[in-house]
């Protein structure tokens, strides 16, 4: 669940620090000076677990969750109490981390009490209380807020060692923006039993939705009170390139309905979610005189598309990304006039001011909530606030037929909708960042809201096209020129990587890394970056290099690797553990290489590596080495055709990576001309 749109400018994996990791580091630092614990009896609910059977696990399991309980007690629509209890048995040294309790707080929730206990395998129990806990602001992290009210309360439980049981409980007082709660009962450790209790006032109703788990019927435990129980839940163990947690872990979403409904706070449908947001944003898109003046100034001439581009560029580049999110400010955009006056804002502010400016030139647009990690929200996601980002859906007038506007879907009521992310300043109007493609967003229109799949752009709109003309000298030195054209996501990431680089010499470091991964030695004699400031054009590297001893003498033979640069193979599937989840690619892509090597005089090709033709439903790889006169030519194409490789085909992908790795090592053999 997200309690705010934190406005990522890239997908989660791109940010160097996750919020959770930053919280953990800060909490550990703060707790280093916290008072020490004392002996004290653990509560009966924990002692009853001492002889409990452990849930199924293997030797790599660091800890098991013996007991989990969440009790929701609704006192009114504005005051709800939540009690959380958990107890773990630590099995391995890596499980010590369960001894650190972290509760998140913000304008919606405040932790009112926190206790922790440990029951060592030998000796007396330990207890820690509120006064041993620390409360800290979440440190600023890349892509997150400059100012926010998000805080954490953390408590370190003593004796969190293998063989011991640790547990905690904390209580929160919640003043919810929306009457909806998440119960995430499946996580990184196997769980023996998990309970969820809901106590509602008379006349209230609820709706429970389940993800990644069969529905469990509750047991009535009293007047308007219910209890759910889930037992023996398997762990979700992290794998490289796996789907997001919310796509694989069991979860229940509970939505509450006060008597007579709760206008704008219940979210039983996506329309309810849209109505809630429209209420928050009401009047905030209105253009001030200054905005109108600016729109006039930057759209004096040009076609309608050129005017749209000018306004999009203003939102991307002239509104600095700064997030100030206090209270409902995590969801409510600042007024467009305020954003314009200050020249800063977060994702929803940028989308809102662009919408305001587009309106001034007669083009309508709508806020789109989305999650930057594809799969967090899917077609089966119950209406909820599982979003972390806001972009814009722009209604294209009938007369606009510009072919560069490709991130478009056809809507039954609003016609063609162009999706655009003004927070991402290196993806131009018309295109869509690769991590938002084929992702589900909530289009919020004046009369409703609709969860829809965003466009998936073809593979050839994303990738690296590398061409090289090289010469091999008779002493083994290889030299020549390379052009590397990066389009779509491949260009976007390179621009992002280089935007904080000021020295020209540092701009070629990605080339040095590329060459270093393919050549034993190299010297770059010339390198230029083209179109760095023109995201509407492909990003290009042009460079020349020399590599000594590239050709290897072997007796009277000469050995040359036709695949000079670049690696497409990967070893992330070479694990001892059997894979449990599908493999997710960031986007469709098509990479091509074409290397021509002029051979040294007096040599001719004697042996060539075999061609490779691998065609699979999810990807393809074709490579070929051929000789034309004294030129050895290597060409290959690597295409990702599907965003997800299902589990039953993962082994096929692993074998494909092995074939590619083998092909990349293959060598051509040259011999002195005229010999046998």
């Amino acid at each position: 669940m997200s309690n705010r749109l934190y406005c990522s400018r890239g997908p989660r994996g791109w940010r160097p620090w996750s919020t959770a990791a930053a919280c953990l580091a800060a909490a550990l630092t703060a707790l280093a000076t916290a008072p020490s614990a004392r002996a004290g009896d653990a509560p009966a609910w924990m002692h009853s677990l001492v002889n409990a059977p452990l849930p199924a696990h293997d030797e790599k399991t660091d800890a098991v969750l013996l007991y989990s309980e969440v009790n929701i007690t609704v006192q009114s629509a504005d005051k709800i109490k939540r009690l959380k209890r958990e107890a773990y048995k630590i099995l391995r040294p890596g499980g010590r981390s369960v001894g650190l309790v972290i509760a998140y707080m913000n304008a919606e929730s405040k932790v009112t009490s926190m206790h922790g206990w440990s029951i060592p395998a030998q000796g007396r129990d330990f207890e820690v209380k509120d006064k041993e806990a620390v409360e800290i602001a979440v440190p600023d992290v890349e892509g997150s807020e400059l100012v926010s009210d998000a805080r954490v309360k953390a408590l370190r439980i003593p004796a969190a060692d293998p063989g011991n049981i640790v547990g905690y409980e904390y209580e929160e007082e919640i003043h919810p923006f929306l009457l909806q709660f998440y119960w995430s009962f499946q996580a990184e450790y196997p769980a023996l039993e998990a309970h969820y209790t809901l106590q509602l006032p008379a006349g209230w109703e609820y709706k429970a939705s389940w993800r990644n788990h069969a529905e469990v019927k509750p047991e009535a435990t009293g007047s308007n009170s219910w209890r759910w129980q889930v037992r023996d839940t398997k762990e979700v163990r992290a794998e490289t390139a796996m789907p997001p947690m919310s796509e694989v872990a069991g979860e229940m979403i509970v939505t509450l309905f006060p008597p007579g409904g709760a206008p704008n706070r219940g979210v039983s449908t996506w329309n309810d979610m849209g109505a809630w947001f429209r209420n928050l944003a009401s009047g905030r898109r209105d253009a001030s005189a200054e905005i109108k003046q600016k729109v006039s100034a930057i759209t004096t001439s040009g076609s309608q598309v050129e005017k749209m581009r000018a306004l999009a560029g203003f939102a991307q580049h002239d509104i600095r990304y700064v997030a100030i999110e206090l209270g409902i400010g995590g969801w409510q955009p600042h007024g467009a006039s305020e954003t314009f006056a200050h020249r800063y804002g977060d994702c929803k502010d940028k989308a809102n001011i662009l919408s305001s400016m587009l309106h001034e030139i007669g083009i309508e647009s709508y806020m789109v909530f989305i999650n930057t990690q594809r799969g967090e929200v899917g077609v089966d996601t119950p209406p909820s606030r599982s979003f972390d980002h806001a972009i814009l859906g722009i209604q294209l007038p009938e007369n606009i037929t510009d072919p560069s506007l490709v991130a478009v879907i056809k809507h039954t009521k609003y016609g063609r909708i162009l999706f655009f992310d003004p927070t991402n300043d290196v993806v131009p109007l018309g295109q869509l960042p690769v991590y938002l493609q084929a992702n589900f967003g909530l289009l919020i229109t004046p009369d409703g809201a609709e969860l829809m799949e965003l466009p998936k752009l073809p593979a050839d709109t994303n990738g690296i096209r590398r061409t090289a003309k090289l010469t091999l000298e008779s002493n083994g030195t290889l030299h020549g020129e390379v052009q590397e054209v990066r389009v779509g996501g491949a260009g976007m990431w390179q621009r992002m990587a280089l935007r904080s680089v000021s020295r020209d010499a540092d701009k070629v470091k990605p080339i040095e890394t590329l060459l270093a991964h393919s050549l034993a030695n190299y010297h770059i004699s010339k390198a230029t970056v083209v179109n760095f400031d023109r995201p509407d054009l492909p990003f290009v590297y042009n460079y020349s290099f020399e590599s000594m001893d590239y050709g290897k003498k072997a007796g009277n033979l000469f050995l040359v690797r036709p695949r000079v640069l670049g690696a497409k193979g990967s070893g992330f599937l070479d694990t001892k553990e059997p894979r449990k989840y599908p493999v997710e690619f960031e986007g469709l892509s098509r990479d091509t290489d074409s290397f021509e090597i002029t051979l040294p005089p007096g040599y001719e090709v004697d042996d060539l590596p075999p061609a490779v033709d691998e065609e699979h439903s999810f990807a393809s790889y074709h490579s070929k080495s051929e000789v034309n006169g004294n030129v050895l030519r290597f060409t290959r194409t690597w295409e990702i055709k599907q965003l997800s490789v299902p589990l039953e085909k993962v082994d096929e992908l692993r074998r494909l990576y092995h074939v590619i790795a083998g092909d990349e090592r293959n060598t051509a053999v040259l011999k002195p001309a005229g010999t046998h």
Binding site: H517, D549, L559, A668
Partner: protein, 236 residues
């Protein structure tokens, strides 16, 4: 390192000795066979960590359990080999003693290590070369280079060829032996068995930026040597 030796008269500055590279050694001894159908290598590997190399590994893993230590040692081998491998630790290394050596034994498979080139097959000599592959990638350096301690790595690899396979060409031997750095690489063949020996030695702890290009050049020599290939003629 400079330290203060405290005595009854106050104290005096002393210099702790710089360790020799021979005080931190990794010996990788492998006995492998070529699988003619797949081009893979399979066999046994024994890695002996001596001196500082053993000490550092014991310290890193002193609070971990057996599964973690096993994965740690297997991951070390994955870091050594520049290709996807299957590796399984087969012994119980002595983690708790202060013996000068830590010995780990493995079953090792390296799929597709033998590359095809038409009628020929090629074997790269740098089986355990991966840790030297991506060091000092960039041409410029701003800060001093600090090595945790001087070290030596020695590889002693036997590869049995399938019946009928002939050696067409062996790469030339290399031997660069200087005061603080050294690299040697030699391949021999006898009775259908290839014998590869390789040594990487670095006797430095702190390197000034002005010497960066020389240090980088040394690793380029290592990488170039490791890319040499043995040319074989598979049997019919």
């Amino acid at each position: 390192m400079t330290g203060l030796r405290v005595d009854k008269d106050g104290g005096s500055w002393i210099q702790t000795p710089t360790p020799e590279s021979s005080e931190a050694r990794i010996l990788r001894k492998a006995v492998l066979k070529v699988k003619p159908d797949t081009g893979g290598l399979e066999g046994k590997l024994t890695v002996t960590y001596t001196g500082m190399e053993a000490l550092v590994k014991r310290l890193e893993e002193r609070n971990e359990d057996d599964p973690h230590r096993r994965k740690y040692l297997e991951d070390q081998i994955r870091e050594y080999v520049p290709a996807g491998i299957e590796v399984e630790l087969t012994n119980k290394p002595d983690w708790t003693s202060s013996a000068p050596t830590l010995v780990a034994e493995y079953d090792l498979k390296v799929p597709g290590w033998v590359a095809g080139a038409g009628r020929r097959a090629l074997i790269p000599v740098g089986l355990f070369s991966n840790t030297e592959k991506h060091v000092f990638e960039h041409a410029d350096r701003v800060h001093l280079i600090y090595f945790q301690f001087p070290f030596e790595k020695t590889d002693d690899i036997s590869i049995e060829l399938p019946p009928g396979w002939k050696t067409s060409s062996l790469p030339p031997s290399q031997d660069q032996n200087q005061r603080y750095i050294g690299y040697s690489n030699k391949v021999e063949e006898k009775d259908g068995v290839l014998h590869l020996t390789r040594t990487v030695r670095l006797g430095l702890m702190l390197v000034d930026v002005k010497n960066y290009s020389a240090l980088r050049n040394y690793f380029e020599i290592v990488r170039t040597g490791d890319e040499q290939q043995i040319v074989l003629q598979p049997g019919s």
